[in-house]
């Protein structure tokens, strides 16, 4: 390891690493003496390696095993007994090819293989991290993956759509949706929404977020661990830190956010209407009003100019947004708690009026009058300690909520230093009670003398946009308050006057123009009418849908805002990955170590083209990584292990290919035949290598225990989702509805950090009896049943699932309510489909395992079912090794 390190550091890595070398045509080895076994070139490669090691392949598995293996491989579901019989008894020489074609043509194929891809993309339906809020628009991406796989779109297209689909399709819905890949990973809500711009933690948050985008993209498509170069040059692979940050720069203009898109037919209508609108706009240019000067026009222009001058003479308008919500008490579990907040004016003085502005928080469902108590009073005092308080206003019976208010209370002409508002009965929020107020003004001679003065309260949440100091910051929850409310009114009056004079002027000008050029004016009015109509029709189109995807522009939320003007944010190389130590500005680019493709990416500083350029780099026919990566992933899922056993890492820390020539041959075949996954599946499944039996052979095992050279098929345990899908399928209850928001296997309660309560899942809810790909995937709290079966945490990319055997798995399969309910369903199904106990037992058994029980098995099961009932027996069937392992 130290040698490698030294070599990487000194640049003496004379020979290029295998995965970075260009793809070279590989001759298919001669297939001497194996003509009886080999079925296609794959077998020639496999056989050559076996022969080298003095090994021989296994014979073909029987048909029953083949159809079960093929159906799980391609659908993740078991074949029905009827499908098995039909295949076993199919005399046609191409029966197997027909089987594979049938399986590939079914939409179940896309559902199965989307699960594999989403493991790599680390897709989830929540944000993860501590608040782990719901991500309600993630699923359109999941559905797109399923559609794309079923449609067998070329791999190059599949790649480019996920990195820059919005750019390469010019904003087509599928292109926008596909970039859900970039946004699929976790997202730190607190870091993005709550931390202030410019703080160190904000920079760390953004750095880690882009790191996830870069890591995902390069692991998934190129099988490289570029993320190892975040803090220093990659220690093992020839990837300098500058290139890592160059890749961060590619994603520096997008964030993970909700992005609008139209369904295709609406998009077409919207585009048509917008095109017509644009063409009318351009005709309007030729019909611009001609100035015809008349006395009336001149008079009205003078009036307009005077109104504008009056408005311009006002001091500049204050900003229109508010930076704060106001003050907010602690949250109580009942209404009858007294809360108070007070302002100390600093010295006793006479007050004309106290103005209370109710809150209307920006980060809460829009609620005017938020937190205004139903019973309240205002007490004032001339002493600093409030000792001689007198009540100015009191509502000890329930009062109506004032909405936006404001509520005005006249002064009593005496000295006031402290003004205290007291809530006697609190305002109900959501099953809890609070008091809040956005601003308290004390007007004296037209000036707010409370502004910026010290505020005290019984208690205060002091969190986010709420703080005691915001009670006197000159802003309601929504807008600034003018120095005097009258000032604001005056500005509005002047603005109205300008608008009126402007209108009068345009009427006069039009009259004058009409008198001189009647036809021109008539034509222009006609086009205006058409434009108005088009606008109306545009407005009545259905609102767009949303997908959680790579978004250059989106609606701001708290401190989470798009990059200014849609330009990528500058990215610097960071010394030791430390945001406090920025070095050179990073230049968007790809990797120089890959033979055959140039690392330079076209860049004009705009956001979209960078991603499109990276997509072109990845999908270039000469980029060897992309093509090796995908065929290895497909191989992994058909054989239980990749030719490279580290599908996300083709670098020096990953494993070397067991069959390098085969890997390259597959990569080139795949690339050159148009990148069709379905063609690749056909090639692999029709090989003798794949069709081998999984039986043991002690002599061969002694030479190659782990079966790295493929002298037999690998027996595979079903993954968590496949277990659940198979149980439903066998029980006859599987709902094959495709797509849409995920079904939930938990009770949900929204909060600052939402609660996901799996113990509240009702296993009898038929709406959840769908394929597991359509499950709502929570990141922080995994589904305990699936997790026990090794379903991975989607916080990180999972190219290879771990496979464990635990006592908790046994308990879940035996006792989980979902399993018990489906065992009953299977019993009912068998009862419907067969007449007596013994044939019902046999039916349930063959549904679950794809074969009939032998005489002894049948006798033992019959006896058990007679004694304990069919549901108890069906429960056992789901616990059999033969159900969970595919030969």
């Amino acid at each position: 390891m130290f040698l490698l390190l030294a070599a990487a550091a000194t640049g003496q890595d004379s020979e290029r690493w295998w995965s970075l070398r260009r793809l070279e045509p590989t001759p298919v080895p001669a297939v001497e003496g194996v003509s009886g076994w080999a079925r296609n070139p794959i077998d020639a490669f496999v056989h050559a390696r076996l022969a080298e090691a003095g090994l021989a392949p296994s014979p073909e598995a029987d048909r029953r095993t083949l159809i079960r293996r093929a159906t799980f491989d391609l659908h993740g579901l078991p074949p029905s007994p009827e499908e098995i019989d039909a295949f076993v008894n199919d005399p046609r020489p191409d029966a197997f090819e027909r089987l594979v074609d049938r399986l590939l043509a079914s939409p179940r194929y896309g559902e199965r293989w989307a699960r594999h891809w989403l493991d790599v993309a680390h897709y989830g339906d929540t944000h993860g991290y501590d608040k782990d809020k719901v991500r309600p628009n993630a699923w359109p991406y999941r559905d797109w993956v399923i559609r794309a796989l079923n449609a067998d779109i070329p791999w190059g297209r599949f790649v480019e759509m996920q990195i820059a689909g919005d750019v390469v399709t010019g904003g087509a819905s599928d292109g926008v949706i596909a970039t859900g890949f970039v946004a699929a990973g976790p997202w730190d809500f607190v870091g993005h929404v709550e931390l202030r711009e410019g703080t160190v933690d904000k920079k760390i948050t953004r750095n880690l977020d882009r790191d996830d985008m870069v890591t995902s993209t390069m692991s998934a498509f190129a099988s490289l661990t570029v993320h190892c170069a975040r803090c220093h040059d990659h220690k093992f692979d020839p990837i300098p830190q500058s290139e890592y940050y160059g890749l961060q720069a590619v994603f520096a203009g997008v964030e993970r956010a909700n992005r609008p898109f139209d369904p295709p037919e609406i998009r077409q209508r919207r585009q048509e209407l917008e095109a017509r609108l644009r063409s009318l706009e351009s005709s309007m240019k030729d019909l611009a009003p001609k100035q015809v000067e008349t006395e009336q026009v001149a008079r009205r222009r003078a009036a307009r100019d005077a109104a504008q001058a009056a408005l311009a003479a006002l001091p500049p308008a204050p900003p229109t947004k508010s930076p704060s919500n106001g003050w907010h008490s602690l949250v109580m579990s009942g209404p009858l708690h007294e809360k108070w907040v007070e302002v100390d004016l600093g010295s006793p003085q006479v007050i004309d009026e106290i103005i209370l502005w109710p809150a209307r928080p920006q980060d809460f469902p829009d609620t005017p009058g938020f937190g205004f108590p139903t019973r309240w009073s205002v007490v004032v005092s001339a002493a600093a300690d409030g000792s001689d308080g007198r009540t100015l206003e009191s509502h000890l019976g329930d009062t109506a909520n004032p909405g936006d208010g404001p509520v005005r209370i006249s002064g009593d002409g005496d000295q006031v230093r402290v003004i205290r508002m007291i809530g006697h009965r609190l305002w109900e929020r959501r099953n809890d009670w609070v008091m809040a107020l956005s601003e308290l003004q004390a007007m004296a001679g037209g000036t707010d003398v409370a502004r910026g003065k010290p505020v005290r309260s019984k208690d205060s949440i002091e969190s986010g946009l709420w703080s005691m100091r915001h009670l006197v910051d000159g802003h309601t929850s929504r807008h600034p308050i003018g120095a005097s409310p009258d000032g604001l009114r005056h500005r509005q009056e002047l603005e109205a006057a300008v608008a009126l004079r402007e209108h009068e002027l345009s009427v006069a000008a039009l009259e004058a123009e009409t008198a001189r050029y009647p036809a021109r004016v008539a034509r222009r009015e006609q086009i205006k009418g058409e434009m108005a109509e088009l606008s109306t029709r545009l407005g009545t189109l259905p609102a767009p849908n949303y997908v959680y995807a790579a978004a250059p522009a989106f609606k701001s939320e708290g401190q989470f805002t798009p990059a200014p003007e849609g330009r990528p944010r500058p990215v610097h190389v960071l010394d030791r990955g430390d945001v406090a130590k920025p070095q050179d500005l990073a230049v968007p680019g790809a990797l120089a170590c890959v033979e055959g493709v140039s690392p330079a990416l076209e860049d004009d500083g705009a956001e979209g083209p960078r991603r499109a350029a990276l997509a072109r780099w990845l999908t270039d026919g000469d980029n060897p990584l992309t093509w090796r990566s995908v065929v290895n992933r497909v191989w992994h899922h058909h054989f239980g292990r990749g030719l490279v056993t580290t599908p996300n890492d083709f670098g020096k820390m990953g494993s070397r290919p067991s069959h390098p020539q085969l890997l390259d041959w597959l990569a080139m075949e795949f690339r050159d035949s148009g990148g069709s996954l379905k063609a690749l599946h056909r090639a692999i499944l029709s090989s003798a290598a794949w069709r081998q039996a999984s039986g043991h052979n002690a002599e061969r095992a002694a030479k190659d225990f782990s079966n790295r050279l493929l002298w037999r098929a690998n027996r595979r345990r079903l993954e968590a989702e496949a277990v659940r899908d198979a149980v439903l399928s066998v029980a006859g209850t599987l709902d094959l509805t495709m797509g849409g928001p995920g079904y939930r296997t938990f009770g949900f309660k929204d909060d600052h950090s939402p609660h996901y309560m799996y113990e509240r899942y009702d296993a009898n809810d038929r709406g959840t009896w769908r394929r597991a790909i359509y499950r709502f995937q929570v990141r922080s709290v995994p589904d305990p049943f699936l997790e026990t079966m090794d379903c991975p945490d989607p916080s990180r990319s999972t190219p290879v699932r771990s496979e464990t055997v635990t006592a908790l798995q046994a308990l879940s399969l035996l006792n989980n309510r979902f399993m018990l309910r489906q065992a009953r369903e299977l019993a009912e199904r068998a009862s419907r489909e067969a007449r007596d106990t013994s044939s019902r037992v046999a039916r349930a058994f063959s549904l679950a395992l794809g074969r009939m029980p032998d005489a002894e098995e049948r006798a033992r099961m019959d006896a058990y079912a007679d004694r304990h009932g069919l549901p108890a027996l069906c429960r056992l069937l789901f616990n059999l090794n033969e159900f969970l392992f595919i030969d």
Binding site: Y129, C228, V331, E462, D649, H755, G869, A872
Partner: protein
């Protein structure tokens, strides 16, 4: 047999290879018995089990263990630490002394807050680490950092690493048990006890003693329509059918492991309820852990359960004080009212934790049990609002006890304000390295390759804190 740890090799690979000749790939990591209960270690261990107490929300060092007379002297004055301070959600307020007084305890004379008199009485067994710092000032990432060694989700937790390295000491109970706060999960929830990319067998098994089903799916539901007798007979038939299947498929130990897993499941069904049943605990034990006071009953029960689980072979227990962020506060994140929130939580943990220390000591178990008390970061010495404190990642306190740890010592220090760690700065990595060290493991050699990186619990950091080791 070569140990996986000493060879620095992926356990899965190791078992895969050794399984060929020795029989028992999957079986080996399934059962402790198959491995002879022998952990594989790098050097002689001082301890064999760990409890991690996690104060979720950020427990305040300057109100519990980090005594600073300056805060009392300058209480209410403008706070000027001589630098610009960037706080999580507020502007620095005035200097605020703790609402509780301080008392010197034990032979070492350590100052501990009057909020924690019982823990105070144990100081001669405790090593305080006052120079703690955190990379993150945000609860989620900072909690993960202490629980898993990384700020991003998806990495194995400390307990999972310990289980992976050392395996279990019994086949009756899981190696790694988690007792969450009954009010809810801490930030990142089960992400804090995940196995990450380690095999799922190493994830923390959650036990929720307050629920009718403390371990999910442990028991056959009464309304399942399957009788107890059918369950028993069924296990017999299942074993028989699985063994017939297995006979025709030699050379695949996973099939044996699954058959064995049902036997282990049956043992867990017997042993777990017994371990969780406190009915046999005598009155003085209930008193020691505070089981009969409303304020300490839940945490006391979890501490007593920890001792019972340890006695029955559990290796790692993670006990949580504090749930998610919500209103009203149900964790240590006292932005608004420190006296109220820390007051309640401090009372909740004080007697139970001290009870566990004393109980383990009396039973001779403290010598090989490490107690780690930790939190994600600390709190500011200045006020937020008038009664709260904002986050402080620059200096906070953790402490350890038992299992080869020196008692009555303090390592590291913050400045006069309890603001920044200025002496012997430490991190969660150092705590993790120290714990692994005491368990006989070199933290730099316990690795698993994942996505091109030999991952460690301590990433590329971590120093064993020699000063606090006996």
């Amino acid at each position: 047999m070569a140990s996986p740890v000493t060879q620095g090799m992926d356990r899965r690979d190791w078992l895969w290879r050794s399984g060929g000749g020795l029989g028992g790939i999957a079986l080996a990591w399934l059962t402790a018995e198959a491995r002879g209960f022998q952990p594989s270690v790098h050097h002689a261990p001082r301890a064999k089990r760990v409890v991690q107490f996690f104060m979720s929300g950020a427990a305040s060092q300057c109100d519990l263990f980090d005594y600073k007379p300056e805060l009392i002297k300058r209480n209410g004055e403008k706070w000027d630490p001589g630098e610009k301070v960037e706080l999580f959600q507020s502007q620095p307020g005035k200097v605020m002394q703790s609402p509780w007084g301080w008392t010197r305890h034990g032979e070492c004379g350590k100052h501990v807050s009057d909020l924690l008199p019982n823990i105070g009485s144990c100081v001669d067994d405790i090593a305080f680490v006052h120079g703690m710092t955190s990379k993150s000032n945000v609860h989620g990432p900072a909690t993960l950092l202490q629980a898993t060694g990384f700020v991003s989700p998806g990495f194995p937790s400390v307990g999972a690493w310990v289980s992976y390295a050392l395996g279990r000491m019994s086949d009756d109970l899981p190696a790694y048990v988690v007792l969450p706060d009954s009010r809810g999960y801490a930030p990142c929830g089960p992400g804090n006890w995940t196995a990450g990319f380690l095999p799922a067998v190493h994830q923390g098994t959650m036990i929720r003693p307050d629920r009718p089903d403390p371990i999910a799916d442990l028991e056959l539901p009464a309304d399942a329509g399957v009788s107890e007798r059918a369950d028993e007979d069924g296990l017999g038939l299942l074993g028989e059918l699985n063994r017939r299947h297995r006979m025709r498929r030699p050379g695949d130990d996973r099939l044996d492991a699954r058959i064995a897993s049902y036997e282990l499941a049956a043992r867990l069904q017997l042993s777990a309820p017994e371990a969780l049943d406190l009915a046999g605990e005598p009155g003085h034990m209930r008193d020691l852990y505070g089981l009969d006071h409303a304020s300490t009953a839940e945490f006391g029960r979890n501490c007593l359960l920890t001792r019972r689980l340890f006695e029955r072979g559990v290796r790692f227990v993670q006990v949580w004080s504090g749930a998610d962020n919500g209103h009203p506060r149900r964790n240590w994140d006292s932005h608004e009212d420190l006296k109220k929130d820390h007051g309640e939580l401090g009372t909740m943990i004080d007697r139970p934790i001290a009870g566990l220390i004393k109980d383990l000591k009396r039973r001779g178990m403290l010598d090989d049990t490490i107690i780690l008390w930790t939190t994600e970061f600390g709190r500011m010495p200045c006020a937020q609002g008038s009664k709260g404190r904002d986050h402080n990642p620059f200096g906070f306190t953790s402490w350890l006890c038992g299992g080869g740890i020196k008692g009555g010592v303090s390592h590291g220090a913050t400045d006069q304000w309890s603001f920044r760690a200025v002496e012997d700065q430490t991190t969660g990595y150092d705590l993790h390295a120290t714990i692994l060290h005491l368990l006989g493991i070199d933290h730099e050699r316990l690795t698993v390759r994942q996505d091109g990186i030999d991952r460690r619990l301590t990433d590329v950091h971590g120093q064993v804190i020699r000063d606090i080791i006996l």
